[in-house]
């Protein structure tokens, strides 16, 4: 990765940041090639938002360096601000203005001339399906509409690099898919995107490369396929009728991980028919009846588990915990 050219989208080297005694980013380096999507994946409190805030010139880093399309983030923040767009976790819209006025405000602040500004605003309203509500106050907007407007505001001046901090947190599944579609179109159009997410499927769906951030350190990096390759095989989940059977099975297969609450035993397996037959034969011989089983091929959660030793929640919880709130 040392042969990076100057114009590459985002290059961060050895970025460190602490708040008081609390180390939030510990020597983080990452590269996002022009026109690609990098997903910064990690649980709440991993330091994702802090990284975005540093790269988008909102806060200084304690150490390290970063360049956005060749502009030094710390030496030339205004140069960076001219080429980036940021859509944060919490909507950065003006609640007292209409959707159209919000977009026009961005056009005016980006110094677009009158005609270009109007055209751009109308284009974005159409593209983000906000044209019908364009002249309504934001109090009439749903969560999904606000998020779309938020992103549309970021795109008024066609930035070359976009930071999306948890762009779908708190959105319903349909709005989430719409947002994914928009993000894919942006990358196709050549925009460099750094996206943070705590959702594995989101990273898997959107990203060209994924960097896994855990407690301020990058613990794994690669394409979704490369990361999945790091896990040798999947596992089989055996469901039992009662705790007694689970205990017997657990004694028989000491390497497997039991889950007492769900009465499930998780056994490593490569997914081949032979290994499955062997497993079932062994249980049969011990007269342990299995209620049902499910076969699990490796996914990013396994990767995450393998590199950090803990699982990431894949569920959409509608109530995002702010970054930095301590969840382990």
């Amino acid at each position: 990765m040392t042969s990076v050219t100057i114009a590459t989208g985002i290059v961060a080297r050895n970025v460190c940041k602490s708040f008081g005694d609390h180390v939030v980013l510990d020597d983080v380096s990452l590269t996002v090639e022009e026109g690609t999507i990098l997903a910064l994946l990690g649980p709440n409190g991993a330091g994702k938002t802090t990284m975005v805030r540093i790269l988008s010139t909102l806060i200084p880093a304690d150490a390290g360096s970063a360049r956005i399309v060749g502009h030094e983030v710390f030496a030339d923040p205004d140069g960076v601000r001219a080429v980036i767009g940021v859509t944060g976790q919490f909507s950065a819209v003006d609640n007292l203005l209409t959707g159209r006025e919000n977009l026009q405000l961005m056009a005016d602040l980006r110094h677009l001339d009158r005609e270009t500004g109007h055209r751009r605003v109308n284009e974005l309203l159409e593209r983000f399906e906000l044209a019908d509500a364009a002249d309504e106050s934001l109090s009439a907007y749903s969560g999904g509409m606000r998020r779309r407007l938020d992103l549309a505001m970021t795109l008024v001046d066609q930035p070359r690099v976009i930071f999306l901090d948890e762009p779908t947190t708190g959105l319903d599944p349909r709005s989430r898919r719409t947002m994914w579609q928009i993000i894919r179109e942006l990358a196709t159009a050549g925009v460099t995107i750094l996206l943070t997410t705590q959702y594995l499927d989101e990273a898997d769906q959107l990203a060209d490369r994924i960097a896994v951030l855990d407690q301020g350190r990058i613990v794994a990096e690669g394409t979704p396929a490369e990361l999945k390759d790091r896990i040798p095989g999947g596992h089989v989940r055996l469901h039992f009728a009662d705790a007694h059977l689970l205990r017997s099975a657990s004694e028989l297969l000491p390497a497997a991980a039991p889950d007492q609450d769900q009465l499930v035993l998780q056994v490593a397996a490569d997914g081949s028919v032979d290994s499955l037959r062997d497993l079932l034969d062994e249980l049969d011989r011990a007269r342990i009846s299995v209620e049902r089983l499910s076969i699990h091929t490796p996914d990013l959660d396994d990767v995450f588990f393998a590199v950090t030793g803990s699982h990431v929640s894949t569920e959409l919880d509608g109530d995002p915990t702010p970054e930095g709130a301590s969840t382990s």
Binding site: V24, T49, R53, L58, I59, V86, L96, L97, L109
Partner: protein, 265 residues
């Protein structure tokens, strides 16, 4: 675009944004303009008969109306800057300020927009109040020059208090705090020569009333509009205004920058 041109453009855009806010949030605008009118009616029709009798000129209600109009002009300013403080705090506690900070826009244009927007709102409120005062029978002995001088003094003082309100809005942790702290201005205003002559106050209070900034401003406005002696009040009013403006401006900028540097995650 040059730095100067972009500063001008961005401040103009922010000003327009603030003026739109005032129109979109009419309940506050109406309250800020309405409060001084209600107080004017209260002072003239409820207190005016009694207070007028105590004036040096031994007038009645009409004489008190003449006396109290400068005081109500200052109430109007104090009321309007409360809105400034609220609007600034609303901006700082919302998400939009982070968006502005990641854009290449002129530093401070957000604050400039607030200051100019509030100044316009204040002058509109002042014009409405003067209109009502005339309707109630207020008559000024001032000519064009006198009015211009009075407007100048009032604008300068309003400018100073608006910067103070911006600083208070920036210092406030919440919108509620930002709406409460400017109340102190009303308290100080009541302890001045705005409503009664300081000579009628007990010694300690009189001392305070005579050294604080509202008194010279009120006396200057009264002198310019109704022909009483201006004396060195005008110099004191101008000095106070410039002093408050400079200190409040520096305080506001430092709060704005500190907020930026000490940003939480």
């Amino acid at each position: 675009m040059t730095t100067l041109a972009s500063t001008f453009n961005d401040s103009r855009v922010m000003l327009r944004r603030n003026l739109k806010h005032q129109l979109r949030y009419p309940s506050m605008t109406v309250m800020l303009i309405g409060l001084p009118i209600v107080l004017l009616l209260l002072f003239v029709y409820v207190f005016g008969g009694q207070l007028g009798a105590g004036l040096a000129v031994h007038g009645g209600r009409d004489a008190y109306l003449t006396y109290v109009v400068p005081g109500l002009l200052l109430i109007t300013v104090a009321s309007a800057v409360q809105g400034t403080s609220i609007m600034v705090a609303m901006d700082m506690t919302g998400g939009i300020i982070d968006r502005f900070r990641t854009m290449a826009i002129a530093r401070g244009s957000v604050l400039t927009g607030h200051v100019l927007g509030s100044l316009i709102q204040t002058l509109v409120a002042v014009a409405v109040l003067v209109g009502v005062a005339f309707a109630l029978g207020f008559r000024s002995s001032a000519g064009v020059v006198g009015w211009l001088a009075a407007i100048g003094i009032l604008t300068l003082f309003a400018f100073a208090l608006i910067w103070l309100a911006v600083a208070l809005g920036l210092a406030a942790k919440s919108v509620e705090t930002a709406s409460n702290t400017p109340m102190i201005l009303f308290m100080v205003l009541f302890l001045s020569s705005a409503f009664v002559a300081t000579a009628t106050m007990p010694t300690g209070l009189r001392w305070f009333a005579e050294v604080q900034p509202f008194t010279p401003v009120a006396d200057t406005l009264r002198g310019l509009l109704t022909g009483t002696a201006v004396g060195d009040h005008a110099m004191a009013a101008i000095a106070w205004s410039i002093g408050i403006a400079v200190v409040a401006y520096l305080w506001a900028i430092s709060l704005y920058n500190r907020r930026r540097a000490a940003e939480q995650r």
